[in-house]
Amino acid sequence: MWNLWMLLKNSGFFASGPVQTALIVGTCAALVSAVIGVFTILRGDAFAGHALADVSSAGGAASFLLGINPLLGFLGMAWIAAFGMEFLGVRKVRERDLATGIVLGAGLGLSALFLYLDVTTTSTTGAAVSVMFGSMFSIPQSLIGPALTASAGVFLLVGLLYRPMMLTAVDPDLAAARGIPLRWIGLLQLLALGLAVAVCALAIGAVLATALLIGPAGAAIRLSRRPAQAICWAIAIGLTAVWGGIWMAYESYYWFSGNAWPVSFFVVTLVFLFYLAAVLVAKVAGLSARSKPVSWPHCEV
């Protein structure tokens, strides 16, 4: 362990400014997405979470165009999409898949337009790649503050509403019987999801944000049946994936003789491997007997 520490310290890893920023923003993304991700998966909302992330890319593209803070762009568009889905009827199970799909389609269309305008009116030619796939080492230092604020917002919302949110996610009928206002809780949950998505989109790109949102949480739910424990697992897995990804991307510059591979690729791959490992561990330990799929029962494979 000590050797590893010395190795990291001497390699100039922590001394580099972009790496520090990437580590801070990445840590925020891993933390908030782990917390919100567990709720999202328990509610069977993975598609909605992914759709919010994808649609937020339109906001990221618009922020290049308007010259505003990209985090605000991601967040604004994610919230608009959340309201759109709520309006089209995400809460009715039968309508959920379609409403999400339609909002997603319209949002991606907008994203196409904004990115096109980015390329033609400003000189940001790499906008498409950086909005969609992220570029962690080029996050400006000025975004650390907003990212920390957005993360604090998520923790505040979840901290205040932990019990009603959890009950609503696990058993909506029981929650309704106990007088919890489902609509409000659902909306607040979507707002918190929007905040988390914006931070993740900033870190690893809008279309890859889903990896952090559902990967660690999906693995964690296989490892523990207790929600609080699952959140802890999700945080551990998310942080390992992000930190490992940043370190590997940094080192890959030396591995591939000057061609550094993108951070997002390493983060996503690590998340995927952790998910596979969790599924295997759960199978060996016989943990996941209860966690059967909930949605789309008619097309089970």
Binding site: A46, I102, G105, A112, Y116, A127, V301
Partner: protein, 269 residues
């Protein structure tokens, strides 16, 4: 707009919208919008890999979308369906990001892969597109009844000896074929919109499968033709028009149904 270099585009788009309407009908009935969204994005790195190896992009797309189907089935079997779908999607996109960073493909090429390109169809491209579309139509004709029964009344289908796993594979395979052909024209993100928007609008207007199918085809053709025309005139990306027209159709159809139900004389088309 109908000059010689656009003719191939019109033919290809018409064929693609036709098969997309049929597959989209099943996407909507089976509520598999997430899978329909994940497969095109899974195919996307195929184009980047083909670029890197210098082979025909269609082959790269078919190989990757095939791997996507296999991985999707495997992961879905292991856990929650939506989590598995999402993870396949991001894994392939991550690989795509890596391959893009390795190729020297310049930004507009990446952009047109993601959001579509009107002028992308040469004579040599046209025949494989038409061939695959014909294959998909044959596949649908062969499996239409069992697929429809499995999608609407899975229990009844099981009673008749139709295996759900097999139907799922048939559905995903046909979806994958449509994806690979449509991707270069409308872009990885917007294949999905073409698959979901028109059939969802059609389904809001009618309960009869045959009428829904006919309406889907009409809507899909209308959607892609107007998108190409608008894109040609404004020079804006075709994906924007497909996306907004698809969502617009759905919203109008839903409002119409809502209004009709209010009037208490709901006319089922």
């Amino acid at each position: 707009m109908f000059s010689s270099f656009m003719i191939n585009t019109w033919i290809a788009a018409t064929a693609i919208a036709f098969v997309a309407a049929f597959i989209g009908f099943f996407v909507v009935v089976r509520r598999s919008a997430f899978a329909a969204h994940a497969l095109p994005l899974g195919a996307f790195p195929g184009a980047a890999a083909a670029n890197l190896l210098g082979i025909d992009p269609l082959i790269g797309l078919l190989v990757f979308v095939g791997m996507g189907v296999l991985l999707l089935r495997q992961l879905v079997r292991m856990g929650r369906r939506d989590v598995g779908t999402g993870l396949v999607l991001v894994l392939f996109l991550g690989v795509g990001a890596l391959l893009l960073s390795m190729t020297s493909a310049y930004a507009p090429a990446v952009f047109s892969l993601l959001f579509g390109e009107v002028l992308g169809v040469s004579d040599a491209d046209l025949w494989p597109i038409l061939g695959i579309c014909a294959l998909v139509v044959t596949g649908i004709a062969l499996y239409f009844r069992p697929l429809l029964l499995d999608s609407t009344f899975p229990d009844l289908a099981a009673l008749q000896g139709i295996r759900a796993a097999r139907m799922d594979l048939v559905f995903l395979t046909l979806l994958a074929l449509v994806t690979a052909t449509a991707l270069p024209v409308v872009g990885a993100f917007l294949v999905f919109t073409l698959l979901v928007g028109p059939p969802a609008a059609a389904q809001a207007l009618s309960g009869n499968p045959m009428r829904v199918l006919v309406l889907s085809v009409v809507f899909a053709e209308g959607c892609i033709w107007s998108a190409i025309a608008l894109s040609y005139w404004t020079n804006w990306p075709i994906g924007f028009f497909v996306g907004t027209i698809g969502a617009g159709l759905f919203t109008v159809a839903r409002s119409y149904r809502h209004w009709n139900q209010r009037q208490r004389n709901f006319v089922v088309l």
